[in-house]
Symmetry: C2
Subunit: 198 residues, 2 copies
């Protein structure tokens, strides 16, 4: 009502994004008005293309513009190990580390009774199917170290028990560069529990 209609619509669109309230949305909309026309067109195209061209890998569930995804297709990767993560962003975090060369399995969710997400709502059946292939020797459960992530890891590890495949969980402990003094009790107790001989 106070802004001309085209800008109201743009503000409304920005407000649909997470963490963006009316003030930020207005600031972003006015910024767009001062952007080069070319950049605005690129932005609009990027939105449409991302939505249209991206989907989930039918093998691992990672986000991809080709199926199977580049990681699943890559013959140089170690096909005997699968790292199970919650989210495509976790794959990126692992890849940035540059030390893991196995495959992934993206759950695209975690078991969360509070939000009504049960084991049947996450990408577990596909994982079980992949494990029937005898080349898989280890499954690393790399869900987040919080209640939902732990519950999901626990659930999957129980499912895999009968198969005899080695199932591991990423270590909990003090983050590198952290400070013992400021660590919370649970993390500290996990760090002690997981201590290793030198």
């Amino acid at each position: 009502m106070y802004y001309p209609e085209p800008i109201t619509k743009l503000i409304d669109s920005f407000m649909k994004l997470p963490g963006i309230g009316p003030k930020t949305a207005a600031r972003l909309a006015f910024f767009v008005l001062n952007m080069k026309e070319e950049d605005v067109l690129d932005f609009a195209k990027a939105l449409v293309n991302a939505k249209r061209d991206l989907g989930y890998c039918s093998v691992c569930g990672h986000i991809t513009d080709q199926d199977p995804c580049v990681i699943c297709k890559d013959e140089r990767r170690d096909r005997s190990i699968i790292c199970v993560v919650q989210d495509p962003k976790d794959v990126i975090a692992m890849e940035k580390m540059k030390e893991y060369n196995g495959l992934y399995h993206v759950l695209n969710g975690v078991i969360s009774p509070m939000e009504g997400i049960g084991p049947e709502d996450i990408n577990v059946p596909d994982l079980l199917k992949r494990l029937q292939d005898e080349t898989i020797k280890e499954v690393i459960l790399a869900t987040n170290p919080n209640i939902e992530g732990e519950a999901t890891a626990m659930y999957i590890s129980r499912l895999l028990k009968p198969s005899g495949i080695r199932t591991t969980r990423i270590a909990h402990g003090l983050p590198v560069g952290g400070d013992l003094e400021y660590a919370d009790e649970v993390t500290l107790s996990k760090a002690i529990e997981g201590r290793r001989e030198l």
Copy 2:
């Protein structure tokens, strides 16, 4: 390199917006992937339309999709008074107040020697032209109460002096609901200086 290309492009576009770093951009891009296709198309259209259909009012400098803008065209408004503001967003703030019924003049900037913005870079000549129309009886200078805003107000008030048109500056003082104890010295001194008889 880590993300499929369409999502990298979308992240890059989000990163061009002010206050959005790589992590937020990635979060927004992934959010877009999970939005309804219809909403994404609307977002893309809103971007292109806002950029294409909006311009500045040739009379007052406010942002508008028609020229002159709805405020300048509105015959029910008091055409004897002009409120000078820095930014289209300030017009909206004034309109939300619902107590001002005059016209506006948007400078689209303030004098700021630090950023190399001089009097010739802001929309002052158009203001002077409007004042030649004899219906204008008062100019309210409502630039922001900071160094640049004060300097701009001072500059314009000097320019208008010879014309004999009444030139006023919005009041400085304690914000309503504020607390004397927490007011800064400059605001407090302005509040005392601007005291009025009851």
